[in-house]
Symmetry: D2
Subunit: 133 residues, 4 copies
Amino acid sequence: MKDFLYSLELKVRDYECDLQSVVNNAAYLNYLEHTRHEFLLSVGLDFTKLSEMNLSPMVYRADIIYKTSLVSGDIFISTINVSRKGNLKILFHQKIYRKKDNKLMISATITKVIVKDGKAYNPDFYFKAINQE
Amino acid sequence: MKDFLYSLELKVRDYECDLQSVVNNAAYLNYLEHTRHEFLLSVGLDFTKLSEMNLSPMVYRADIIYKTSLVSGDIFISTINVSRKGNLKILFHQKIYRKKDNKLMISATITKVIVKDGKAYNPDFYFKAINQE
Amino acid sequence: MKDFLYSLELKVRDYECDLQSVVNNAAYLNYLEHTRHEFLLSVGLDFTKLSEMNLSPMVYRADIIYKTSLVSGDIFISTINVSRKGNLKILFHQKIYRKKDNKLMISATITKVIVKDGKAYNPDFYFKAINQE
Amino acid sequence: MKDFLYSLELKVRDYECDLQSVVNNAAYLNYLEHTRHEFLLSVGLDFTKLSEMNLSPMVYRADIIYKTSLVSGDIFISTINVSRKGNLKILFHQKIYRKKDNKLMISATITKVIVKDGKAYNPDFYFKAINQE
């Protein structure tokens, strides 16, 4: 039933909460990015390495459904799955669950492309690294 | 040809840029929220007022397409249009254009619902305020 | 040689880094706040409780010396000590060390006062909670 | 009575406010940085130029007194003065005033050094640019 490749446990920080006493919508993008980078690091794909190869992974699309709001004190599990769309797009399927009751807080699909010299670059090396995990 | 109800001119702040020397993906969510709040304020719908009515506008969905990256020094125009979906959903159609060449940087649809006592609340008052502008 | 009351291990998140490829100066304030709140929570002083007592802890002063910059990938230890200044001020002595070599990255003194009904409030209960730890 | 070299008018954005319904302490560091960068740009010292000269301006110290809290909706004026300390340190004297009543919200001294190849670099060029304004 483990439907993800990688997961990270994090805790809400009070400065991430806003006037409405919930985690601000933008902060989830931070959580999602941090989870992706930690995941990629875990399979040997870090930003420094990609930079040396003159490759820039760019977010092309973000589609997020906010189910329930995280609040101060909440611990949560941020999970990732990956798939490919067409030749060039990498889809990160990301979910965040509140730890205490496993409730789904947000569900997101983040589409990335790898850019080299201003053009989309074939992400075969990406999927090779991920699948060797 | 003016296809928006409201627009706001802003400038990239260097702390919004990240390791890749472009505005971080999450920072656009901040721009979009700030534009929505300024727009709503301009039609008399501020957070204090809504709070007094015990109403909580919540982001339910965010769908963002990143076309081109804003960088340090860029001035941009953030525009808003609004439509209704079904009875309860408010759609904010938001675009960000780079000022110097009017190039579209991002295009987003943010779906909000108004919550009162844990249930979705009819947003008629919202559209009334917006259309009276 | 343990010269702190509490410590927290954290890792730099890439979105906290800026154009200069180091953690942005403002992000350290986030780290320091999160460490204080986690520390206070560990001795039973959470924001909800204080709110119920109508007490607002406010930062009155922040004095920070930046020694070396944290960068992407760094793990660090954030430590706290507390002392009292005069009757009303609480001083948080906070240091951040890079984990891999125990190098001091920043050293800060954050001065807080507890405000109740617009006036400074005696923080005896604060020190009582801390010392009972 | 104009006791500053440069000033910038800004408005609080709701996402900068936290659980306590005031601008979060760390957000002021963002305001101060943005004001410095805009000021430096106005005298021809932008980050790109400095980078080309292989120079990294680094914050060495930040001393901030928080007088009153900015809240949602506040417009404020962020002012800068500059002085030199010793041979190598640049002091930015920065104040933030609430626009509606000219009340001082925060007062800060930010100490910077210019680093080149890991060593502090003589900031004569900096003061020359500033004084030619």
